[in-house]
C-alpha cells in the first residue's frame, strides 16, 4: 500500500471517529488535517437537529406557501368541461366569420383583390386558423 493511500485511509477513519465523537489519536502525518476535520464538525454540528420550535415555524410557513401554490394551480387548471366550452365557442366564432365573408350581398362574398377573393383560399385560411386555435388550446392544457 503506498503512502498516499495509507494517509487517505487514516484520515477517512479519523473523520468517522470525529463525527461519532469517538477518541482516536491521529498520526503526526495528518495531525493538521485532523484539526481541520474537528473544526468542520464544530462548525456544522452534524448531530444537532434543528429545534422543534423552528421545525414548527417552518411547517406553519410552508403550509401557507402550499395553500397559495394550490390556489395558483386551481386557477391555471383547465377542466375538460372548460376545454369543451372553449372549443365550441371557437367553432361558433369561425362559423360566424365564414358566413359573414361568404354571404355578404353587397360585395358578393370575399374580398376582391386579395387572397380571400377566392372561396378556396378563404376556406384554407379558416381551416388553418381553426387548427392553430385547437393546437393552442391543447398546448395550454398540457402545461
Amino acid at each position: 500500500m503506498d503512502e498516499n493511500r495509507r494517509l487517505d485511509d487514516e484520515l477517512a477513519e479519523l473523520t468517522d471517529a470525529i463525527i461519532e465523537n469517538r477518541e482516536m489519536t491521529p498520526s503526526q502525518d495528518i495531525a493538521d488535517l485532523a484539526e481541520i476535520a474537528r473544526g468542520l464538525r464544530d462548525l456544522i454540528e452534524p448531530n444537532t437537529p434543528p429545534s422543534a420550535s423552528f421545525d414548527a415555524r417552518m411547517k406553519n410557513r410552508l403550509d401557507m406557501e402550499w395553500e397559495q401554490r394550490q390556489r395558483r394551480m386551481t386557477r391555471m387548471r383547465v377542466t375538460p368541461a372548460v376545454r369543451m366550452v372553449s372549443l365550441a365557442a371557437a367553432v361558433v366564432v369561425v362559423m360566424v366569420v365564414v358566413i359573414f365573408l361568404t354571404n355578404n350581398p353587397s360585395e358578393g362574398g370575399g374580398f376582391d383583390g386579395t387572397a380571400l377573393g377566392s372561396p378556396d383560399a378563404l376556406i384554407a385560411v379558416v381551416a388553418v386558423a381553426a387548427v392553430v386555435g385547437a393546437a393552442i388550446l391543447v398546448w395550454r392544457n398540457r402545461r
Partner: protein, 179 residues
Amino acid sequence: MFDASDEHLARKAQLGDRDAFYALYNRYLQRVYNRVKSKVPPQDVEDVTQEIFIALVRSLDSYQQRSRFNTWLYTIVNRQIADFYRRRNRNERGQNVELDSEGAPEIPSTAEHDEADQRMSIQKALNHLPEHYQEVIMMRFADGLTFAEIAEQRGQSLEAVKSLYRRALQAVRDNMGEE
C-alpha cells in the same frame, strides 16, 4: 411513503400531494440545515433554511425528472446562500456609511471573539473551495453519508473519494493559511 424514491415523491408533490412534499421535507430538513450552517453565520441559519424550502415549494413545477432530486435541491440551496451573501453585502455597504459617521460597533469578549474568528475562518476557507471539494465535505459532514455511500452517489471508487476528501481538507488548510 417512507420507501418511495425522492423522485417519485417529487412527482406526487408536483401533482398537489402535500404528504409527499412533507415526506421530502422531513427527509432533507437536517441535511439542508447542516449545509446552511456550514456556510452562513449562525444567526442567519434559520432564515436562510426557511427561504430555501419556500423556494422549493415555489419552483417545484420546474423540477424535471432528468436529474436526481437532491442534485436539484442542492442547486436551490447554493443559489439561496449566494442570494443571502448578495443581500448582506448590499446592506453592509449601506451600513458602513452610517458607521463611519456614528462610531464602531460593540467589541465582543476575547473568548467569544476567538471562537467566532475560528468559525468564520473555517467557513470562509470552505466557501472559497472549488465545487467538488466543497461537495465531498458536505456529503460527509452535512448529509451524514459514509465514504462508501459518497462513492456510490458520485460513481467513483472508495479510494478515489477518500483521496478527494484528503485533498479537500488540505485545500481548506491552505486557504486558512492564506488569510
